[in-house]
Amino acid sequence: MTALVSRNAWSLGLIGLLLVLVAMTKIIQPDFGLSGLESLSRAALPFAFATAGMAVVVIVGGIDLSVASMMAVCSVTAAVLMPSLGGVAGVLLVLAIGAAMGAINGALIVLTRVPDIVVTLAMLFVWEGTALLILETPGGGVPGWLRQGIGGYFVIPGLPKALLLIAVIVAVIWIPLRRSKSGLAIYATGSHENAAFRSGVVVGRTRVLAYGICGLFCAFGGLSLVSLTGIGEPVPGPYLLASVAAVVLGGVVLGGGRGGLLGPIIAVFVLRIIRTILTLAGVDPNVTTIVEGTVMVAVVMLATVVTYRRVRV
């Protein structure tokens, strides 16, 4: 029990912070209730998937600057194909395209030995251009069931479908992977590439796998964008920096090898609810981003101090 708590200390701390913030929201706006949590979950959808993808590549010791562009490619592809191809085939195809784009990013890094930050920066522009080629101006459409699939509650009121989707999709992809040999290889490569190599980890293949998983999560992110808006938008949204922020806030060490996906996903909700609170309080929009940044750095500093102390004791 204590081991479980101490292993998930960062995530538990974030859950505590999230509960405090929800309570704050309730104090500022007494009407805030289930419907508020439901729209918060929907707003979190694209951020959560972008963050999950980013977390996996950060754990393997890399970074992917093209997450928002890959999401844009997936969203326009879905919006263009679904009216003719139908929803299910469209979803499957988009997921395959996402995983392929991520794997291409990873393969380029492994094969060319150019630093990940440079390769994915270049791919940011490549995927951005690809999205514009597929759809020049916002448009297209998605079937109604996909739009309804993310709104409202699942069976019991109080369980937003969007929240359930995030939990189920991330768990189905991540938990089996993490417990497998490949998952161990991802952590090993992230914490010390040479040591991993000498222990028999196929480092190159592991990295391609991690970037492919990132692309797959980005495909879910792109699908959630079309489901939210009903159209495909070729210009990438603000998901790159937001995902890096949530990964850091979620306790994943930039540099790799440490952290999980639970922390970053909770961090997405923390960052979203901060925006809700600032809107409810009517704070000047230019001050909003300053507050968001300050909260982030304060939490990370505090958490680092706490973790450091515990390690020394």
């Binding site: 729209s39 694209p46 964008l225 808006t229 938008e233 809107t279």
Partner: protein
């Protein structure tokens, strides 16, 4: 005792009624997804100034950031959660926001889209009349040429609704002036450098023309004439500060600026308050008609001089008010302060 109670009740009721007659306490939410653009910043300041000028708006909550349609959905849902009475938004896309707009309308929130339309039923739309914008400028230009001559037609972006509407207005003026002939028609993409290069190319080909109509890429067209040493012809542009200044300063420039005010944002707030107070317009689509400022007559030059203000942000459109809609002063929009701040 009973009398005393009744008197108290009457007093309380009288007090309540009096206070509700004096001023309502509306909270208005604003949502915008382009930050750092002069036109949009003027729009936001006009919203704040108008909310301050309206006596019955006690609070204005502004969501103003660079984001996509999903982000605007988040902002709209947050404004709904904040319990606003009305939402004034500049929509990022006509179809993407309907889920939040429908939710707002079903909760009795008044929704006003400014600058561009939304397809959600029940939302009010208030925007500049783009067809009239083009017609007004083109008609003036054709009159300057005496009803006959060759002109260059520099449009915006193909497929954008504002460009399509302006094209309709331009074609209407063209139909009324059969002596006018379009020698070059081009899309500037509303890009300064692109429009300037296109004008350089037209001047270089040597095909003569007598006038230029632009869709707002205007001052760089004047630059292109001056830099290539070509004699100036009449030019029609928008009320961008740079072009309006040229109309007063550049020797030999005969031109006109047609207003396309970002202050429609202020008009949107005024419309929202009208609807909340039970004075809804008959039609859900409200168009604001532009006006034309020309420097060919003394009266026109005086109008331009009066409109200019050194304190105005040079990136802003020069027309800071929408006559018939906005009630704030120029000082108030420059101060850019809303109620409850």
């Amino acid at each position: 005792m009973r009398n005393l109670k009744m008197t108290l009740t009457a007093l309380a009721m009288g007090g309540a009624m009096a206070s509700s007659a004096v001023a309502e306490n509306y909270t208005i939410g604003v949502s915008n997804t382009v930050q750092g653009n002069g036109w949009r910043e003027q729009m936001i300041c006009a919203m704040r100034a108008q909310a301050l000028a309206e006596g019955d708006v006690s609070n204005l909550i502004v969501s103003h950031r660079n984001t996509d349609s999903a982000g605007q959905l988040e902002d709209l849902n947050n404004l709904i959660a904040a319990g606003v009475d009305a939402i004034v938004l500049n929509p990022s896309n006509p179809d993407a926001l309907n889920s939040a707009i429908d939710k707002a309308i079903s909760q009795g929130i008044v929704v006003v889209a400014v600058d561009a339309g939304v397809s959600a039923e029940g939302a009010y739309i208030l925007s500049n009349n783009q067809e009239e914008y083009a017609y007004l400028g083109a008609k003036w230009l054709f009159e300057q040429l005496g009803g006959s001559g060759d002109i260059v037609y520099m449009r915006g972006i193909a497929g954008v609704s504002a460009d399509t509407d302006r094209d309709n207005g331009f074609k209407r003026a063209l139909a009324e002036n059969p002596g006018i002939n379009v020698v070059h028609e081009v899309f500037t993409g509303w890009q300064q450098d692109q429009g300037k290069q296109q004008m350089f190319d037209f001047l270089a080909t040597g095909i003569p023309f007598d006038g230029v109509w632009t869709s707002g890429i205007d001052n760089v067209i004047v630059d292109a004439f001056v830099e290539s040493g070509a004699p100036l012809v009449p030019i029609v542009g928008a009320d961008n500060a740079g072009f309006v200044q040229y109309l007063t300063e550049v020797d030999g420039l005969n031109g006109a600026a047609v207003t396309n005010p970002g202050s429609v944002g202020g008009a949107g707030v005024a419309l929202a308050v009208d609807v909340l107070n039970g004075n809804a317009p008959a039609d859900k689509l409200v168009l604001v008609d532009p006006v034309l400022w020309e420097n060919a007559t003394d009266q026109g030059r005086a109008t331009i001089e009066a409109a200019q203000n050194p304190n105005l942000d040079p990136e802003w459109p020069v027309s800071v008010t929408v006559p018939g809609w906005t009630d704030y002063t120029m000082e108030q929009i420059i101060a850019c302060e809303g109620p409850g701040a």
